[in-house]
C-alpha cells in the first residue's frame, strides 16, 4: 500500500517541480533521438546519460535515465516504420508490419499507432512494477547464497537460450565467457588479485560501462560505417489524413494489447532477455491468435500493436528484477543498475528496507516518462525523422567520440577507453560469428554475484553441495536450467539426425 501511495505522490510531485520536469523532458527527447538513429541502442543512450548525470542527485538522475530508456525503446519504432531498419534491436519485429504500412502511404497512421501502443505497453509495465516488485522483493529476502549462486547461472543460461534461439550453444558460450571475464580483479572474499598481471588498473576489475559501450556501441558503429548499400527512407504520409480512428484501433486490439503487455512484462522479468525477444514472442502470439494471420507481414495493425506494446511493457518488466534482485532484465536495465550503484542506491533484496520509497518512485517516474514519450511522440517525432537525412558517415564518428568521452569521464582514465575499444572488437567478432551480446553482458554483471555466493555456500556447509538441491527455490531454478537446456538442445540433435 505504501508503494502505491509513493507511486501517486511521485507523479504529482514531478508535475509540480518545473526543474525536474525540464530535465525529464530533454532526457525523453534524447531517448527518442537515440532510438530513432539506427546504430544507437537504448543501452548506449542510458550509458551516455549515466555519465552526464554524475553530478545530479539520485532523485533526478534515476528518473532521467528511465526517460531515456523508455524514449529510446519507443524511438526505435520510427526508423523501423519509415526505414525498415529497427532503430534499436527491440523494434526488429516492428519492421515486419510497420514498413509495409509506410509503403502503402500510411506512415503517419503507423507512427501514431506505434506511439499510442508503446504508451499503453509502458503503463502496463508500470502497473506490474507497483504490483509485482514488492512481492518479488519479499520473496528475494528468503534468498541465501545458494539461491543467488544458482540464479546467476540460471539468468545466464536462459538469456543464452532466448537470445540465440537458432543456436543456443552460442548463447551459453557467450554467457559463460561473460562470467569468466568478470573474474578479473580482486576477489571479494580474500582480496586475491586474479588475472591482473601486476597491473594496478585491473585490481578494481573491469568497469561495467566500458564493457557495455564497447560490446553494444562499437560493433554497431563499425557495421554502419562499413555498409556500402544504404537503406530506403519512406516518408510517405499521403494517407495519414484519412479518418482512421485511433480509439477504434485500440478497441479492436484490446485483447491483443493486454496479452502483448503481459508477455512483455514477464519476458522482461527474465534476466538479460530484453525487449527484442519480448516483441518477437508477442508478435508470434498475436499472429497465432489472429483472425487475419495472412495479413501479418503485409501491414497488419495487430502485428504492429503486439510488437510495440510488448517491447515497452518489457522495460517495466526488466526493471522489476533490477530493483528486487539486483539482476537486470535487459541490457539497458543493466546500465540502470550500474547507475543506481553509482548514485549510492544499492538495488537488491534489501532495497525495500533501505529505500522503501524506491519502487513506488521508480514506477511513478516510469509513468511520467511514458506521458512525455507519448506527448513528444505525437508532436515532434516527424521532425526527428529529418535527422535520418544526415549521412551515417558524419553521424557515426560523432557517436564514437561520444562513446570515448562517456567512457573516459566515468573514472577519468584512458585505460577505460582502451577497455571499451577492446570489448568493442570482441563484440564485433561475436557479432559476425552470430554470438549474442546480451548473455555475455549479463554473465559479466552476474559474475561477481555468482563467485561470492558459490564460495560462501561451499564455506558455510564445508563443501557440501546438497543444499543446492534441497532448498526449494534453488531446486526450482536448477530444474528450470535443466528444462531449458533439454528443451533447446536435445530436440535439435534429434532433428539433425533425421
Amino acid at each position: 500500500m505504501y508503494t502505491v501511495k509513493v507511486f501517486f505522490e511521485s507523479i504529482v510531485s514531478t508535475f509540480s517541480n518545473p526543474v525536474l520536469l525540464f530535465h525529464l523532458s530533454w532526457s525523453t527527447l534524447l531517448g527518442i533521438l537515440v532510438g530513432t538513429l539506427p546504430g544507437l541502442t537504448a543501452t548506449l543512450g542510458v550509458a551516455i546519460l549515466t555519465t552526464l548525470t554524475f553530478g545530479f542527485p539520485p532523485e533526478i538522475a534515476i528518473p532521467m535515465l528511465l526517460c531515456v530508456y523508455v524514449g529510446a525503446i519507443y524511438g526505435g519504432s520510427r526508423t523501423a516504420i519509415v526505414l525498415n531498419i529497427p532503430g534499436t534491436p527491440a523494434n526488429a519485429a516492428t519492421t515486419v508490419d510497420g514498413f509495409p504500412l509506410a509503403r502503402s502511404g500510411m506512415a503517419g497512421f503507423a507512427l501514431n499507432v506505434a506511439t499510442i501502443m508503446s504508451g499503453i505497453g509502458s503503463i502496463i509495465g508500470a502497473i506490474f512494477i507497483v504490483s509485482l516488485a514488492p512481492a518479488l522483493g519479499a520473496l528475494a529476502l528468503k534468498f541465501g547464497s545458494w539461491e543467488f549462486a544458482v540464479l546467476a547461472i540460471f539468468g545466464t543460461i536462459i538469456a543464452g537460450s532466448l537470445t540465440a534461439p537458432k543456436d543456443p550453444l552460442k548463447g551459453w558460450i557467450a554467457g559463460f565467457l561473460g562470467l569468466m571475464i568478470a573474474m578479473i580483479g580482486l576477489d571479494e572474499i580474500v582480496s586475491f588479485p586474479r588475472y591482473t598481471f601486476g597491473n594496478i588498473q585491473l585490481y578494481g576489475g573491469i568497469s561495467l560501462l566500458p564493457v557495455l559501450v564497447g560490446v553494444y556501441g562499437v560493433p554497431e558503429i563499425l557495421t554502419s560505417l562499413k555498409r556500402v548499400i544504404k537503406a530506403e527512407v519512406v516518408l510517405d504520409f499521403s494517407k495519414g489524413k484519412q479518418k482512421l480512428s485511433y480509439l477504434g484501433t485500440i478497441k479492436r486490439n484490446a485483447v491483443n494489447l493486454v496479452r502483448s503487455g503481459i508477455i512483455g512484462v514477464f519476458i522482461g522479468v527474465i534476466p538479460g532477455v530484453g525487449e527484442d525477444v519480448a516483441a518477437w514472442v508477442a508478435y508470434d502470439a498475436a499472429k497465432r491468435m489472429s483472425k487475419e494471420p495472412e495479413m501479418f507481414g503485409k501491414g497488419s495493425i495487430e502485428g504492429l500493436t503486439a510488437a510495440e506494446t510488448a517491447n515497452n511493457a518489457c522495460v517495466g518488466g526488466a526493471i522489476i528484477p533490477v530493483l528486487t534482485l539486483a539482476v537486470p532484465g535487459s541490457a539497458p536495465a543493466a546500465v540502470l543498475l550500474a547507475a543506481m550503484w553509482i548514485h549510492g542506491i544499492k538495488a537488491g533484496p534489501l532495497l525495500p528496507i533501505e529505500h522503501p520509497e524506491m519502487i513506488g518512485y521508480v514506477a511513478g517516474s516510469f509513468v511520467i516518462a511514458t506521458i512525455l514519450m507519448v506527448v513528444f511522440g505525437l508532436l515532434v517525432t516527424r521532425l526527428f525523422l529529418k535527422i535520418l537525412m544526415v549521412p551515417t558517415e558524419i553521424l557515426m564518428p560523432i557517436i564514437f567520440v561520444l562513446c570515448v568521452v562517456g567512457t573516459y569521464v566515468l573514472n577519468g582514465r584512458l585505460f577505460d577507453v582502451w577497455v571499451m575499444l577492446l570489448f568493442g572488437l570482441l563484440g564485433y567478432f561475436m557479432r559476425i560469428n552470430d554470438f549474442p551480446a546480451a548473455p555475455f553482458v549479463l554473465g559479466f554483471i552476474l559474475g561477481p554475484m555468482a563467485d561470492t555466493n558459490i564460495r560462501r555456500a561451499l564455506m558455510l556447509k564445508n563443501g557440501d553441495i546438497s543444499p543446492f538441491f534441497t532448498r526449494p527455490i534453488s531446486l526450482v531454478l536448477i530444474i528450470a536450467i535443466a528444462l531449458v537446456v533439454l528443451s533447446k538442445y536435445l530436440p535439435k540433435r534429434r532433428g539433425e539426425k533425421r
Partner: protein, 146 residues
Amino acid sequence: MKDRISALVFMTLGIFFLIGALRMPRATEYGRYGAPGIVPAFFSIMVILLCSIMFVRKQRASTNSSDVPREIKRAENRRLLLASAMFLAYVFLLGKMNFVVLTSIFLSATSIVFLKRRFVLISAISVAVTVGIYYLFSHVFLLPLP
C-alpha cells in the same frame, strides 16, 4: 568453418583462464572452499566444454549474408579496416594532443574519407560538433575531458 575458428579462439581463452585459476592459492584463512580459483576454474571449464561441443558438432550454415557479391564484400572489408585504424589512432592520440584539435581533425578526416564530398561543410560541422561536445561536458556538466 567459422564456428570452428570461433570455438578455437574462445577455447584458447578458456584454457588461459583455467591455467590462471589453477595457479591461484588453494588454501585461505576461510579454508579451501574460500580459494579464489574455484569459481574461475568452473567457468573456464564450462567455456572449454561448450566450445569443444561446438568444435566437434556438425557445422551449420552461417546466418550472415553469404550471398553478398564479392566486390561489395571487399569494399566493406576495406571500409571496416579503415574505420578500425582511424578509431585506434584517435584513442592512441587522446591525452597526447589537445582534445578540441584532435577531435575536430578526427571527425573531419573520418567523414571526408568515408563520404568523399562536401569537404568544407564537413570540416565546419566537425569543428562545431567538437566545440559543442567540449562545452557540454566541461562547462555544462563539469566533467573532465582527456
